[in-house]
């Protein structure tokens, strides 16, 4: 599988993502710089990693969503390319309008780093098909602005279109509908606050199921 991991100024889980994809999942991984203008058409997966792009200044992910690289990513996503945003990557996808809703400061106003239990809400290709619906997965979270917010109509739509992939069993941050991760309507863009790359070798190994789901489907037709 051909993957790309984007580094924004302030990204700090980019190396973790690359290492997991390359060493644990044996994918080929290209490191992409945020000023690069690429078409991404050769890739099976583009990952926007966690971290503090632009220091989380103004709003998490806001400045990064305007980076030159995002144009290529938007085109890639529009053609059905798979884009995964983890933590700060999820925030960037929401800020860029590739996913609905917004992520804002945790209800408790503190950064939280710990393992959380997630419930698989939908078992869908290419993200969660290795799980059964309602199965439990343990991933760590590490964020200060992970409260997912969407209005009621938006929430109803997410539900009716099976866009919610993970919810928290115990909501750590006040997210609407306990939401931990969602995909877009087309299903090819997925963002989540918890860190699957940190649950692929150490801690739990539940993250492997996510990578396996993605890999099992091979290349997307674009």
């Amino acid at each position: 599988m051909n993957t790309a991991v984007v580094t924004f100024p302030g990204s700090n889980c980019d190396d973790d993502a690359r290492d997991t994809l390359a060493r644990v999942m044996e994918c080929s991984v290209k490191a992409v710089w945020h000023k690069d203008r690429l078409s991404f058409s050769d890739f099976d997966l583009v990952v926007l990693p966690g971290g503090f792009s632009y220091g989380d200044y103004l709003r998490c992910g806001a400045m990064a969503s305007l980076s030159p690289v995002m144009e290529g990513i938007k085109e890639f996503a529009a053609k059905g390319g798979r884009v995964l945003g983890i933590c700060n990557g999820f925030q960037i996808l929401c800020e860029a309008g590739l996913l609905p809703g917004a992520l804002t400061i945790n209800a408790g106003q503190k950064f939280i780093c710990k393992d959380v239990s997630l419930k698989v809400e939908n078992s869908v290709a290419p993200w969660t098909c290795e799980w059964k619906v309602a199965e439990k997965a343990v991933f760590p979270i590490a964020h200060g602005d992970g409260r997912y917010w969407i209005d009621e109509a938006g929430l109803a739509k997410l539900k009716s279109q099976n866009q919610i992939l993970f919810t928290y069993l115990e909501n750590p941050n006040g997210s609407t509908g306990d939401i931990a991760g969602i995909r877009n309507e087309q299903g090819n863009v997925f963002g989540l606050m918890p860190h699957p790359e940190r649950a692929s070798e150490l801690r739990s190994r539940d993250g492997l199921k996510l990578w396996k789901s993605i890999r099992s489907l091979g290349k997307v037709a674009s």
Partner: protein, 746 residues
Amino acid sequence: MSARIDDLEVATLKTALSLGLSAEEYQHVCRKLERPPVFAELGVFCAMFSEHCSYKSSKKFLKRFPTTGKRVVQGPGENAGVLDIGDGWAVAFKMESHNHPSFIEPFQGAATGVGGIMRDVFTMGARPIASMDCLFFGSPEWERTPSIVRGVVHGVGHYGNCVGVPTVAGQTLFHPCYTRNPLVNAFTLGLLRKDEVFLGSASGLGNPVVYVGSKTGRDGVHGATMSSREFSTEGELDRPTVQVGDPFTEKLLLEATLEAMQAGLIIGIQDMGAAGLTSSSFEMAYRAGTGLRVDLDKVPTREPDLSAYELLLSESQERMLLVALPEHVEGLKKIFDKWDLHSEVIGEVVEGRSVKMFHKGRLVVDLPVELVTDPPMADRAVAAPGDLKQRWFLDRNRLLSTPLADKIAAVITDFNFADPARVVEQYDSMVGNRTESGTFDDAAVLRLRDVKERQVRLALKADCNPRVCWLSPREGGRRSVAECALNLATQGAEPIGITDCLNFGSPENPEVMWQFEEAVEGISEACRALKVPVISGNVSFYNETDGNPIYPSPVVGMVGLIEGPEKLAMNSFYSSDLEIGLLGPVEAGLGGSVLASRVFKRECGQPDDTDLSMVDRMVKLCQRLRQAKTEMALHDVSDGGVLSAGLEMAFRSKVPVGLELACPPGADLDRFLFGEGLPRILIAYEPSERVGIESMVTQSGIPFHVIGTTNDSEAFKLRQGGASVYLSKLADLKKPWADRWAGLFN
């Protein structure tokens, strides 16, 4: 004030005294220079002769530390020490204090402390992969304590989280002696190739000196001298401009610096920490035996009209000074541009042994390097306190007549007996994806995914027991090292080196100097016994307010190696049918224990001298236990004795358990249960494993006693001579432990 004095105005003794130089130092400078310094030069001397930069009171004692060993690639004296960990890899680490700034502005003070130590480490060419923080706060009852705690914890977390260096271990402690002098000690460790160590040296005549990173403002002008003076309560309002940390820029600077090093574009490099451009330029010239010419007008500034004095002493954060070959300046600029950072040639390496600095066409500093970097040492008086005998008196009879339930209550209601989750969950302890065991375990363990040649892990912990240090600073020094070693031992690690952060009161107080000397001796003894070198460190004096010094607080940060793929031991119970053994003496001393402090409302008793050779044997025993591949849990016994250690293992258990402890026949219950002398470790295992474990333990010359079991009662029961002497539901004990620090964070 100072800004209005012209940089070239001749500095009088009066001005020198007002800026913290002593009369002798001023005269020394005038004699050597054969003229009085001008104002800008005076700034250089004030900063560089400050205790913080010059180590003038401590240097001669620090020489006693053992600093050599087969792994030592770089000992004390550079930005960080470096140890060889095999296969061409090395680790660089150091610890620094940021105590005074954290009292003045807790969030920024703590954050910039973390930023500073990270720069010290990546300056060496190492990628920071783990941090620790030791936080000593004052009385929780003092009205400002909660906001200091919140600010400091937020600052430590924010900076580390944002740069992406996990905070994996540390210590949090409350004691009234820190009420107006909180301690914030930050440790960072980085990973590098052994033959790619970068040093802070300005070598190569004609080579350009390059400034990189953030622009310079007036931040913290005179921070170094501030941290070298005591506080007085009235002085609280007299503040220099606080330094503000920008972890985002730090992250960019880290990446750009490592990229430039990788590309072979850097010859020497030093971060601009305390005393900013002054210390970095003089120290780099000193190490290389060269001179420098610096054009201060080229320094990128954030504010207009900075005087030379301010440019020299600014402590604006996230800046570095480096030396490169002339033909590499272009390449450097390209890399720093890529990361949106400033880089500017501000001078060059010149012949001779002096640093000349120009500003607005005037020569404002013209000083011999050695005069600045080798200040006159202070010869401080040393005197033991007269009341040690009183401190050491522990009223055993009163202790014996105190009901057991009251003693247990005293220990488990101690404010320091608490779940650290409220603090440590605010830290990203996992970023980098190396953290195998972290902020809830005795020691942090990082797997080095970078080392492909073999399976190797690092273990880290930092520790200090100020109660013991106050009663006996020498024993306190030993315990700082021994406690770290025992924490590492629970993970089966071999200690390979330490760094230290020596926090004390005023060196002008002979009793403080006595504490200092004793603590240094204690650390040295323990290091020699365990064969671990001291490879870096930091001294923080003047931690006192209105003449009241803090307890001597020699904090030690230790690094160990775990070889091989065998599993780590757990630090908590993992099943409800385990047997519990005690490795080490069945009784331990009560001098300096939590029990004594709580019952007598003051620190008292003479702490036992630690049997360092037994500590060494214990550390090696634990390495063998891990290799035996038996499933087990190990937890070291420290504050609160066997009681606290056993309860912590139960509280952290992943499965519901009950705990039963029994005082072995003939043992004194107080000394068994509450004693804190080292080395003691609790071990829990399947009963069928006892024979194998016991024989390994006794072969090591270490006492072994079976002292309890886990069961499914979910209760804590204590037995003595067959009779049950204490019974409580574990949940009732756990809740106050879990919630103890909640009120600080609301």
